[in-house]
């Protein structure tokens, strides 16, 4: 009898606390992006400045570092500087860096590229379709996708050169 009362009270309390806990978790877990570590990376298509289209699926088998950026984002500039310095070394090891601009004008992206002397391809996410799908809210936002098309890390905000490089190291296929 005593035991029954205890179990009854315990289960009622547990159900209520679980409901409240889950609600709070849902409410405060916006930290987790729409697409995040462990998810399969949704395929997408974007065009570069000369209208050549690429698809994410083209790089299956390579590690892919997707960098969402904008010309008005100062942290993006630092990050893209590091990537400019190292991307070729990693390309040889099977890591592709994709720079996806969040729907600025082609002119701005082109001029930005000239101004900072980037020699990699730049892609523009027209209509922010890809950014919306991936849940990009703040820039820079990086998505690390392994050779099997799975997201292994999501990172929002500024990064040091060291952090960028260790991210790229993680992406080397077979590492």
């Amino acid at each position: 009898m005593k035991n029954r009362r205890f179990m009854m009270r315990l289960s009622i309390l547990a159900v209520m606390i679980a409901a409240v806990g889950y609600t709070l978790y849902i409410n405060f877990s916006e930290e987790r992006g729409l697409v995040d570590a462990g998810d399969e990376a949704p395929n997408f298509a974007v065009k570069n400045l000369t209208d050549d289209e690429i698809e994410l699926a083209d790089y299956r088998g390579d590690g892919v570092y997707i960098n969402f950026w904008a010309t008005y984002c100062t942290y993006c500039r630092d990050k893209m500087g590091y990537l400019q310095d190292h991307y070729e070394d990693y390309e040889e090891e099977g890591v592709k860096v994709l720079h996806v601009n969040v729907d600025e004008t082609t002119l701005q992206v082109e001029r930005h590229k000239e101004r900072f002397g980037y020699d990699f391809d730049m892609y523009i996410d027209r209509g922010m379709l890809v950014s919306n799908e991936y849940g990009v809210h703040s820039l820079p936002a990086a998505y690390l996708i392994d050779e099997n098309g799975e997201v292994i890390e999501r990172h929002v905000g500024a990064q040091t050169e060291q952090q960028v490089l260790s991210s790229l190291d993680r992406l080397i296929p077979g590492s």
């Binding site: 009362r5 009270r9 009622i12 409240v20 405060f28 997408f44 008005y72 004008t105 027209r126 919306n132």
Partner: protein, 558 residues
């Protein structure tokens, strides 16, 4: 804990005041009257204090605690209305400085304490949750014993129980056949729509017992209402997003996971006419700015074709057209798009012309699409204008370099490079004349510019502001509210009344209890007195008062 056995043979839970079955007082109480609250049952929480679970349970079971939770919730909710919440301050404002600038030190404190986002804060949600838990536990802790006691009550009651009721009397006469007297009383009370039960000639007449469940039904309604509110945190149940669409453009509908797109065919705004002679005339004249009569978005809802890849080449299928007006949303698949805001006259295109010595060079007009400018413009007679830099929303950043705040052309600035026919724009060694243009701004960046670029025309576009809503919690809120009202009515408009009449040695003993509206019960006694000659009881609470005694136990709750 051991049970308490009454002399009638019934086993009562520990802590019971009045035997559930016969009503005999099991504990000595102060005052002349029995404490009928919750039928004298043990409020379990007050009796078991064994382990942590019991302690948590007891805490939330307390009405005192419940009332404190409500008071704290009231104070917290009102604090949130002192200054505007974060979502209502201007969108461009930085909350960390806005509150200080607008409201001074108090505002700063308000922001630092997190009151600018009070209703979504974890502690506010926890107080709400505590209220819900308190409602559930306090109700369960009372309704279960009360239900047991009312279901188990016997007709025959202990003489001590009857004696300690507020309405109580013993007949002066001694009857030869008191049971027949009680039979008559039973008939009379049935006419008053009492449920009459008999046992060994004794009588229990009862009416409106369901009113006792009113408070609990009311709490169930409240709990459903709170659950409805809780479900709003789940995107499946509740979506509240906004989307801005320029005329002629298509945007993804936020909150639908890329399922739908909205196209703005045209945005229309109409103002009240100052000249029109109608009932609003006076009010309109008092307004400096024109007053909007109506605004609408002629919209098309679209859906990407199944199986496509996200990105540049998404093909869209048309689903439906609708003119969205205030209170006339476009509704589809549970989503509604409401007209809530608009922005008129956003820059969309600038037309420029090249001038030499303040004279326009014929055929050198060109138009720059501010949302998609070209790299360079080839003009008549071999003139070329290149755009060196474009800043849709210009500002100087902290390093004093020109940059843009975002991608909305609110303050567009362009750096042009002009190549006359004698210069080759493709030759990297040549530099043309450079000038910096914006609205009411024309600055030469190279010395002795021969040519000038003049802004001759600007195209404007309207932007519509829509809210995306999906609310599946409404049925919960409506059901909860309705049940709440039913419980309230049930407990307020009917009153549980009981009349006990017993015979003992030829005398008739009557006692009565009502959980409120004793006056009506007395009237029923009056009726039974007139029809069947039952003794009319004294109100012992009133007698006590006359004697200067306490009548606290006389009025019972629930």
């Amino acid at each position: 804990m051991e049970k308490v056995k009454c002399e009638c043979g019934h086993e009562n839970p520990y802590g019971t005041y009045l035997c559930e079955s016969c009503g005999k007082p099991l504990k000595e109480e102060e005052g002349k009257l029995a404490n009928m609250r919750y039928e004298g049952t043990a409020r379990r929480s007050q009796t078991y204090r064994k382990n942590v679970v019991d302690k948590i349970w007891n805490f939330f079971s307390s009405v005192k605690v419940g009332i404190w939770i409500i008071i704290i919730l009231l104070i917290a909710s009102s604090l949130g209305t002192v200054f505007p919440q974060e979502m209502y301050i201007p969108p461009a404002a930085d909350p960390s400085v806005y509150y200080y600038q607008e409201y001074g030190t108090l505002g700063q404190l308000y922001y630092q304490l997190g009151f600018h986002n009070l209703y979504g804060s974890w502690w506010y949600i926890l107080i709400l949750a505590a209220l819900g838990i308190s409602l559930v536990i306090a109700s369960l802790d009372r309704v279960v014993p009360l239900y047991r006691a009312l279901r188990k009550q016997r007709v025959t009651r202990h003489s001590k129980f009857l004696e300690r009721q507020r309405l109580y009397a013993v007949s002066e006469e001694t009857y030869a056949d008191p049971v027949q007297k009680l039979d008559e009383a039973a008939e009379a009370l049935k006419k008053k729509r009492y449920n009459v039960r008999r046992e060994n000639g004794h009588l229990l007449a009862e009416k409106n017992r369901f009113a006792r469940w009113g408070p609990y039904v009311n709490h169930v309604g409240l709990i459903i209402f709170l659950i409805g509110g809780m479900l709003r945190f789940f995107p499946e149940m509740y979506v509240d997003e906004s989307v801005w669409v320029r005329e002629g453009e298509t945007e993804i509908v936020q909150g639908t996971d890329g399922e739908y797109y909205i196209h703005n065919n045209e945005f229309i705004v109409e103002y009240y006419d100052d000249e029109r002679d109608d009932q609003f005339q006076e009010a309109l004249e008092n307004q400096q700015d024109p007053v909007v009569e109506t605004y609408e978005t002629q919209a098309t809802l679209l859906k990407p074709e199944a199986g496509g890849t996200i990105g540049s080449e998404t093909d869209l299928e048309k689903i439906k057209d609708h003119d969205i007006r205030v209170n006339d949303p476009l509704t589809y698949d549970g989503y509604s798009l409401y007209q809530v805001d608009y922005k008129l006259n956003e820059f969309s295109k600038f037309t420029f012309a090249l001038e030499l010595d303040d004279e326009e060079i014929a055929g050198t007009e060109f138009t720059v699409d501010l949302n998609d400018p070209a790299m360079s413009y080839d003009l008549a007679d071999g003139y070329t204008v290149e755009i060196m830099e474009y800043f849709p929303n210009f500002e100087m950043d902290e390093n004093n370099e020109p940059t843009t705040i975002n991608r909305v052309p609110d303050n567009p600035r362009i750096i042009f490079e002009v190549f006359p026919p004698d210069l080759d724009p493709d030759d990297p060694d040549t530099t043309g004349e450079i000038s910096f243009l914006g609205v009411q701004l024309n600055e030469a960046l190279t010395e002795d510019n021969e040519y000038a670029i003049r802004l001759t025309d600007a195209d404007l576009v309207d932007v519509t502001g829509l809210t995306v809503r999906r609310d599946r919690t409404l049925p919960f809120l409506i059901a909860g509210g309705a049940i709440f009202m039913i419980g309230l009515i049930q407990g307020s408009y009917w009153h549980h009344r009981r009349i006990w009449a017993q015979h003992s040695n030829g005398k008739i003993i009557v006692a009565g209890h009502a959980n409120k509206n004793w006056y009506a019960l007395k009237k029923d006694f009056q009726y039974a007195h007139e029809q069947a000659g039952l003794p009319y009881p004294d109100d012992q609470a009133e007698l006590n008062e006359e004697e200067g005694g306490s009548s606290e136990n006389g009025s019972t709750k629930q």
